[in-house]
């Protein structure tokens, strides 16, 4: 067992992790961060995506200890019901969240994309989403939502 300390959505946190515990399970089970979803546990679906120092990672395949001393951002840190991020507004407005299970990962990946590339071409959005599986909404409204958010933000990050 080891204590892992890191910044979670801008606030310092600490939790005790087992040697093989994933960052996903630490976030979900010990820190009650439920926007991070368990989809496959194999790095194949992107439902558990979080940002580690701004870069998207699949938290199910990331040992919790990797987060020690780092900055972790989840969907909760991107926006809240009271203060939606433009990406969240665009997903809501464009019906880009049917069952909602992939949505957290989709928005988190899109946030990282727009942070480094505020005006992505459609192909760049598709490439950024290539590790995220959606099974009911369909990718077309998701891509449209990201395009709409990029246009609305117009480079404001």
């Amino acid at each position: 067992m080891v204590t892992v300390s890191f910044k979670l959505n801008g606030r310092p946190v600490a939790a005790v992790a087992g040697p093989v515990e994933s960052l996903r399970d630490l976030l979900r089970e010990k820190l009650q961060v439920h926007a991070v979803k368990a989809g496959c546990g194999q790095g194949g679906c992107g439902s558990c995506t979080v940002l580690l120092n701004g870069e998207p990672i699949v938290s199910c395949l990331t040992p919790a200890v990797v987060a020690d001393g780092q900055e972790v951002t989840t969907l909760e840190g991107i926006g809240t019901p009271a203060k939606l991020h433009p990406l969240q507004e665009a997903f809501y407005d464009n019906f880009a969240a049917q069952c909602g299970y992939c949505t957290s990962g989709m928005i988190t990946v899109a946030k990282a994309l727009l942070d480094r590339n505020p005006h992505p071409a459609r192909e760049e959005i598709v490439e950024a989403l290539s590790g995220n599986v959606c099974r009911c909404t369909g990718y077309v409204p998701i891509i449209a939502a990201i395009q709409a958010a990029a246009a609305k933000m117009d480079g404001r990050g």
């Binding site: 979803k37 909760e76 019901p81 939606l84 069952c99």
Partner: protein, 446 residues
């Protein structure tokens, strides 16, 4: 006239803000203090006799709270569609005499953590005397095939002892004799998996008053409650079922395969229990759609009218009924498609094999029929040298006509849909097809 308030408007999802902020609660987001995790030990072989199932070492493993076996299941022999009169029961909740498919549940390890439960799975001592499995519908219906069902055939028995679902309408032999062409086609669909992003999950908390709070991502809450009550032999008012947002279902979450065992585990231990399937279980164990094999024979006139249709269809239900006997009935009703055919003969078989059970999936039984019907329609058009659009207008059913299953057609829209679709893609239609509509049938057959 008052303007419509909702039709034509874009209405926002009620749960949309929850979805985009990660605040929507799914079953896996429910946890309780002192909660145990459940893992299922499954059959490694497709067919065999269980000679030994010893769970004592697993029970003694540190961190294991209980092992649930068939002895803990009050009513271990069931079928979920008993609620609509499907019989006989054919499936154990937890097997103990024989196994019928690779992945069949045998016993559940209930432990302090998922990791401990996984470790203890390897301590269950299991001996199965393997038997040759039946893995193909054609093998299953051959005379002399190993009989895998207790009632002595490998097919579901429909009304009057028939080994198939029959549809009989008109006189197909007369229709074939009159026809200018006989056009045949065989169509097949493989099984496929729903792959919901959220795997099947159940959390059960025993309450001090004897009730059980059951969080489940079933697609059919009351259906699941009734079946769980039957399996547990308790009044349904003891089961407080809480459904909610389902992270993808597509028919894959209606088989009542997680709630009874999780509930029994909570009753046996007196503690909250969570069972969350792995992605591997979702692929290898959850029911899939079934394979279908459809053989069509159509009698067709030179002007394109289909005057007779005979279909033999075989459905691979896998090891158990689940929803398949009902799916085959739906399927059989749709084999003529949205077309008026005066002479129809259907034999649709629900066949059992030692495969992963099949069950509902999007348009259960109807999708394979539609696929076969429309490919067959194109084949007829090609054979006759007709426009594939026209062959559909010629045969489209109209309001007031009788379908083979003796249901009068109501609210037909095929003609109007074809006209609108042709316009959208810029396909020119002859004046006589543009003049047609679904209410133009005057009583004489077209």
């Amino acid at each position: 006239m008052k303007p419509l308030g909702i039709v034509g408007q874009s209405v926002k999802r009620r749960d949309g803000i929850g979805h985009v902020t990660g605040q929507t609660q799914y079953v896996d987001d429910v946890s309780y203090p002192n909660m145990l995790w459940l893992k299922m030990v499954r059959s490694p072989v497709a067919r065999g006799q269980i000679r030994k199932l010893d769970v004592s070492k697993a029970e003694a493993y540190p961190g294991v709270a209980a092992v649930v076996t068939w002895k803990d299941v009050p009513n271990n022999w069931y079928t979920i569609l008993c609620l609509i009169g499907v019989e006989p029961n054919d499936e154990p909740v937890l097997a103990h005499e024989e196994v019928m498919w690779q992945g069949e549940p045998l016993c559940a390890i209930v432990a302090e953590t998922e990791e401990i439960a996984r470790e203890a799975m390897g301590l269950v001592e299991l001996e199965i005397e393997e038997q040759a499995p039946v893995l193909d519908v054609f093998e299953a219906i051959k005379p002399g095939a190993p009989l895998i069902k207790k009632w002595g055939t490998n097919t579901f028995t429909y009304e009057n002892g028939a080994p198939m679902r029959r549809v009989r309408f008109g006189d197909v032999d007369k229709g074939f004799a009159e026809a200018d062409y006989i056009i045949e086609g065989t169509y097949r669909i493989t099984p496929y998996e729903h792959v919901p992003l959220e795997t099947q999950t159940c959390v059960v908390k025993p309450e001090p008053d004897g009730r059980l709070t059951i969080h489940t991502n079933t697609q059919a809450l009351y259906f699941t409650m009734d079946n769980t009550a039957i399996i547990l032999q308790v009044p349904s008012n003891r089961l407080h079922m809480i459904g909610g947002t389902v992270g993808g279902g597509f028919g894959g979450k209606v088989d009542v395969v997680i709630e009874p065992v999780t509930t029994i585990a909570a009753m046996k231990t007196g503690r909250p229990v969570k069972w969350r399937w792995t992605r591997t279980e979702e692929f290898q164990v959850s029911s899939t759609s079934g394979a279908w094999h459809m053989e069509y024979k159509d009698g067709v006139m030179k002007d394109g009218r289909i005057v007779a249709r005979k279909v033999r269809s075989l459905h691979d239900a896998g090891a158990y009924h689940r929803h398949s006997p009902y799916g085959v009935t739906k399927h059989s009703a749709n084999l003529p498609g949205p077309y008026y055919i005066p002479n129809v003969w259907v034999d649709a078989y629900c066949v059992y094999t030692n495969r992963q059970p099949a069950s509902a999936l999007r348009g259960f039984g109807v999708t394979p029929a539609s696929y076969a019907v429309e490919v067959q329609m194109d084949k007829i058009a090609r054979t006759l040298g007709m426009d594939p659009w026209e062959i559909r207008f010629v045969n489209a059913y109209r309001n007031g006509q009788m379908r083979a299953i003796r249901k009068e057609v109501q609210d037909a829209t095929l003609i109007e849909t074809l006209q609108a679709a042709a316009k959208l893609v810029g396909h020119p239609l002859a004046e006589k097809f543009l003049a047609m509509h679904s209410n133009d049938w005057k009583g004489a057959q077209p």
